[in-house]
Subunit: 284 residues, 2 copies
């Protein structure tokens, strides 16, 4: 079996490591426009050889792990080139535009739209590691449009990585991700920006970061390329939830200014229920 | 030695445990308006006996660990009652109002304004533990106004807990905390509120939380009583930085709406420098 990984970053590299564990005899082809990433991936034996898109016709499985916008542009050409029993899946953080890009492609059934909820703020092949997906959800979109034998293979493989599967329609997926993930990233990036603009003394940022800043701003360390692509691709739901967030902040500011402390207290108290949701539903 | 702890929560309880390690012969008096907290603290042997404010004249050391507003109201009366070699210190997240409250008190030199940067989103005596302060900064304000022998004792004791000391003026402290800590909490509370309002399915919040939400919203689990008191007490610097934050979010929304992707990219890229500040300066 030949497995090609297009984009050897945290996710692509970690998937390659997991599949290598499952298929020790397989050959892994690394494709990336970043030569340093390829070198790292070869050195760490995440992939066996460097390849290019012209080698795609020899692959049995293709992992597409590049920014969303690039995936949308590349995927139709990829499908054009693959052999008839090859499966391609992507791992992007938005799913509507990618599903639309292949909706009428003759090889649509050889594609699976997937989103493992397993990123960290670290990126690049040096961050890739076994176990990244253990206990994490894998969201599959339009799974019924993928050929049954290829879908079964993928489901089995993802479950072997420790993932549990959830099924969503692309538009629903993108809306929920805007709420729960994309807004968090914008909130964090802008928090970091605001503090950097105001706080002249970096030692203060460091010393005081344990008081809340460090966790809240963690996501502001994320890859700008990847996140700009997500924001652009999922613009409408993001603008919608971002507006709701700004409205809540404006309202908080107004209530604080006016001394409406009972109203503020009720907001804080009510938001505390997240504790139950995040801890309570969690299996461990 | 008798050590009184007023407010047996995460910080008060953890300080008591550390001091018990340093002074195994000392007697620890617990004072709290919450009977359940007192029971927990007695059961966990964090304090030895339950006491009231009328016992304060027998104490050699008093830890004041209650919400800021309550500390400001109580502290002058506390100083009225203590004996001449007793040291009182508070651990509040703002320092200007507390220093002002005792500025002209005849026993001002028996008070030390302190702020250990060591909270977590968990609260209550059950969350108290040894080691909480290890490697963390302890901010001392107006330290020169504290009597030398009492200050020396406190500095030695804090260092034995593993803390490193930083000295700031109260107004500066409060400004920096508004930037680095208080804004993070507002950002997190309002993020949680927004997502709770929009996301009907709690299972989605749970399943997708690993994609960024979980860490960004951690602070929204914090105590409403404590944080409302901080927001109220530090209103002016908070309103100032909150306005700057909202402006940045508005600007982000406008640029996304208009497709100003280069500008957005530069903002994200520039904010990435936090990685260096938060990792690079860190001693470990």
């Amino acid at each position: 079996m030949k497995i090609a990984v297009i984009g050897i970053g945290l996710i692509g590299g970690s998937l390659a490591k997991e599949l290598k564990k499952q298929y020790p005899q397989a050959t892994f082809l690394g494709i990336d426009h970043n030569a340093a990433h390829l070198e790292t991936a070869i050195a760490q034996e995440t992939v066996d050889t460097v390849a290019t898109l012209s080698d795609i016709d020899k692959a049995d499985r293709v992992i597409l792990s590049i920014p969303v916008k690039a995936s949308v542009a590349l995927l139709p050409q990829l499908l054009d080139r693959i052999s008839e029993n090859c499966l391609v899946w992507d791992v992007g953080s938005t799913k509507k535009s990618i599903c639309e890009a292949v909706a009428s492609h003759p090889k649509r059934e050889q594609f699976l739209a997937a989103h493992p909820i397993a990123g960290t703020e670290n990126s690049g092949p040096q961050a890739a590691h076994l176990g990244l997906f253990d206990g994490k959800p894998q969201i599959l979109c339009e799974a019924k449009k993928t050929r049954a034998d290829l879908l079964d293979w993928a489901k089995k493989s993802f479950r072997q990585m420790g993932m549990y599967l959830r099924f969503m329609e692309p538009k629903e997926h993108d809306k929920h991700m805007a709420y729960v993930s994309h807004l968090s990233h914008i909130s964090s990036f802008m928090l970091g920006k605001t503090v950097l603009e105001r706080e002249d003394d970096e030692q203060n940022i460091f010393d005081l970061a344990g008081s809340g800043f460090e966790s809240t701003v963690r996501l502001a360390k994320s890859s700008p390329e990847m996140w700009l692509s997500i924001f652009e691709d999922n613009k409408a739901p993001i603008l919608d939830i971002l507006t709701a967030y700004i409205d809540n902040l404006e309202n908080f500011r107004k209530q604080l200014e006016e001394g409406a402390y009972n109203d503020l207290y009720n907001q804080l108290k009510n938001t505390n229920q997240l504790k139950t949701i995040l801890n309570g539903i969690k299996p461990n």
